[in-house]
Point group: C2
Chain length 245, copies 2
DNA sequence: TGAATAGTGTCTGTTAGACATTATAAT
DNA sequence: ATTATAATGTCTAACAGACACTATTCA
């Protein structure tokens, strides 16, 4: 096959091997706080640390397909919307060899998140401590879930803390104008639950009437006519997310 | 070195070779309209088409470093801010082999853009026709510059039209709340020029008093006290961009 | 009836668009 | 003076935050 002028100067073989992986940030809510699914690493590098589910990109699959495969094989999940987040290419990300990783982000509804934590081998649902640091975001701390044997913030392998921090920042940025807030909730939810999600992700308190107005005016919420049961006070109405056309 | 459980199942070698490149979207303004620097391809694949400057990522350089090297070697430029845009991994992007490409975006001030077009071998500054298609963006058309031998919209090689379209969309999205609008202008500029840049990128007309207020209230503009020369009417004041602290 | 939260009405300050008006330089 | 554009003032509508108020269910 004819080499063209554009690429001829950069024959890759002399420069050695480079591997490509995908890492999946699987976000959900744990007791109303943002949380991620992590895998415990038993062996080096990063033994004893926690890591994002990930895997190598095969030569015959797209990046999106690799991300979906990781989701399926590592977390037992399928059919979720996954969005490419960023590609991490530091030289020393992995001590074994040069590995560039394309990070993906998926948001898991309540019950899906819980089910994945039960079924995915070794998956730990870990709350993310999101410091309020303005637009810049800042480093996140990942805490052990209640009842875990771990103590103190979890140590994350490789640059996975950076990846998680960027995922939270992206989520924050898209929260106000996109539908991501609904992706973390069950099919039917109350406005209070929706506001709790927003507050947990943003790390700030929100004004109740203004939040209600904004959400209802947007036209994405459909009242179900039903109300939440089991409260010891006035039961709130349940809403459903209706896709905007 | 000890293979760990997480990565053991995905030894990359059985899956064949995969190459990683960077492609640079170098945006500037041509007669007040957004434009990109492109390279003419003389040989297949994509002979006769235009392509973004790009090159393979070496095993001992980061993605950012590879993007800067491409900028230097293909466009003769250095010291520009480059931002990672997206990673493109379709299977048939390049007919020769599986190539995943990390796209980068750089914004070139007026004179830098013009100089690069003169000095970069085979670089063509091509105006981008940005259809106003709401938030979704839509496909862009790249037109030949005035005086060019090309006729009709330029044919772009590989998936580079997609990359350009995404770059324009990203630019649009960041225009209102970030400093990107200033990156395309010379050091001193008038408010009218700034508004023209915004209108060209957004594809819509903007309200003049509101635009002035918003820009001045933001505190990023410093009046130089000087005025533009050579006008046949009241000369506008020249402003300078002052970095927010 | 009290407690607790759901849900609403109203006021106010901020901001953007529309439009008219004034300012200033060249000819 | 005329002309063309710069730059500003003012009115109004939309919207968000603050806060108080009413509504509804269970204990």
């Amino acid at each position: 096959m004819h080499e063209d002028a554009f690429l001829a100067a950069y024959d890759p073989t002399p420069y050695g091997r480079l591997a490509l992986t995908v890492d999946a940030v699987l976000l959900g809510l744990l007791e109303g706080r943002p949380a991620a699914l992590l895998l415990k690493r038993d062996e080096p590098p990063g033994a004893g640390c926690w890591a994002l589910p990930g895997g190598f990109v095969r030569v015959d699959e797209t990046l999106d397909a690799a991300a979906e495969r990781v989701l399926r094989e590592k977390a037992g999940l399928a059919g979720l919307h996954m969005e490419q987040l960023y590609t991490f290419g530091a030289l020393d990300r992995d001590p074994r060899m040069r590995i560039v990783s394309v990070a993906y982000l998926a948001l898991l509804p309540e019950h899906v998140f819980a089910a994945a934590a039960r079924n995915g081998a070794g998956l730990l649902p870990a709350p993310i401590d999101v410091p309020w640091a303005g637009e810049a975001g800042g480093p996140v701390a990942v805490l052990p879930p209640a009842g875990s044997a771990e103590s103190g913030p979890l140590r994350l392998a490789f640059d996975h803390a950076d990846i998680l921090a960027l995922a939270m920042l992206r989520l924050r940025g898209k929260l106000d104008y996109s539908e991501v807030g609904f992706a973390l909730l069950p099919e039917r939810f109350t406005l209070r639950q929706l506001q709790d999600v927003h507050e947990a992700i943003l790390g700030t308190a929100l004004n109740k009437p203004a939040f209600r107005r904004r959400m209802l005016d947007r036209g994405w919420l459909e009242p179900t006519g039903e109300r939440e049961a089991g409260t010891s006070f006035r039961p709130p109405e349940l809403y459903r997310f209706r896709k905007p056309r």
